[in-house]
């Protein structure tokens, strides 16, 4: 979780990723953020986030992103 938080804070240091629960639904993260986050997570965790994974519920919270990472790592 800490590593993921570091990555997200690097991209958006102004966002409280620990407490925000609707990062996508509330428009806190925009499309540029998504591109950056997906690229960084793909590199950092050696996963491939696919178009099927680009659903708001996978990126609304840091916990959801962690869950997505674990799912993709397990699928490999």
């Amino acid at each position: 979780m800490e590593n993921l938080l570091d990555i997200l804070n690097e991209i958006r240091p102004d966002v409280d990723f620990t407490n925000e629960k609707k990062l996508i639904d509330d428009g806190i993260l925009d499309s540029f953020d998504i591109i950056s986050i997906v690229s960084e997570l793909n590199d950092a965790y050696d996963i491939e986030i696919d178009v099927e994974d680009l659903e708001p519920e996978n990126f609304n919270t840091i916990e959801a992103m962690l869950e997505l990472i674990r799912k993709l790592q397990n699928e490999q």
Binding site: I11, P13, K22, S31, I35, D50, P56
Partner: protein, 271 residues
């Protein structure tokens, strides 16, 4: 070029491209965006030798996104409208992004603009004690929308500026997100803002050419700051890195660069 008519068709196209090794992309549309674009008939696909281009149709140009094979330089492309490709990055290019720049260049695009995000917390924002001509600055009214629309088009290149169309502008005016400064009965300056939860963002600050050099841009930004200071935690906006005047102004307020960058590459049909 073919119109994409549904989210399902979009997913199938992208999945096929990725299965064929086209994994380099600047495109991460969320489903709602795709649904919206396909319902309006504004999303198109072009299959090219190196992968897939997705063209989002704006009024006078396309925003182009891609899925490409790593390392494969596409052929030069032709379009019937001006086009822009956005490549966001953090601080500096990664090797992958450097390669993407080569691929973008191979398609016939050239660098149009370097942008960066400036940001500041509300707590650290510097607010002036008084704002000159504050009585001339107010929320725009619906009757102002046409003049505001023309001023924005006069001051900004639509390829880069994400200008609102008339309906969007009217919506923003109704939501009290647009300020105007009037001088001699004319709209001398406009500030178009947006707010998402805890962040206020300036989308555009425009000063009519005959009113420049009077500090109107700074005044209208001050009023925006005063309005949002107790309502948000953060202020942000994208700035053209060649606009040193704007950068200096925002620095006076305390804004800083936070590492988010974006390059915009353009293809112009008349160049």
């Amino acid at each position: 070029m073919k119109m994409i008519t549904s989210l399902e068709e979009y997913k199938e196209l992208v999945k096929t491209a990725r299965d064929q090794g086209c994994i380099v992309s600047n495109c991460f549309f969320l489903p709602n965006t795709i649904r919206d674009l396909t319902e309006k008939g504004k999303l198109f696909v072009r299959k090219i030798d190196a992968g897939l281009l997705l063209l989002e149709e704006a009024d006078e140009f396309y925003r182009v996104r891609y899925y490409l094979r790593p390392g494969q330089i596409p052929e030069e492309q032709k379009f019937d409208k001006d086009c822009v490709i956005e490549l966001p990055f953090q601080n500096e290019f990664t090797p992958s992004q450097r390669m993407q720049e080569e691929q973008i260049s191979g398609m016939g695009f050239s660098l149009g603009r370097n942008s960066a995000l400036m940001s500041i917390s509300s707590d650290n924002l510097k607010i002036s004690v008084t704002v000159p001509f504050m009585d001339k600055i107010s929320f725009a009214l619906e009757e102002d929308h046409e003049n505001i629309y023309h001023l924005l088009k006069e001051c900004f290149d639509p390829l880069y500026a994400f200008l609102p169309d008339e309906a969007e502008l009217m919506g923003k005016i109704r939501c009290k997100q647009v300020w105007i400064l009037k001088s001699a009965g004319q709209i001398a300056a406009v500030l178009n803002s947006s707010m998402e939860k805890n962040t206020a963002m300036i989308s555009h600050v425009a000063v009519a050419s005959e009113f420049r050099g009077k500090g109107y841009g700074k005044m209208i930004v001050e009023v925006y700051h005063r309005y949002y200071k107790e309502r948000v935690r953060t202020f942000s906006h994208w700035v053209d890195l060649s606009n040193s005047h704007a950068i200096n102004m925002y620095r006076v307020f305390g804004y800083q660069f936070i590492g988010r960058r974006a390059n915009e590459y353009v293809f112009k049909i008349n160049s």
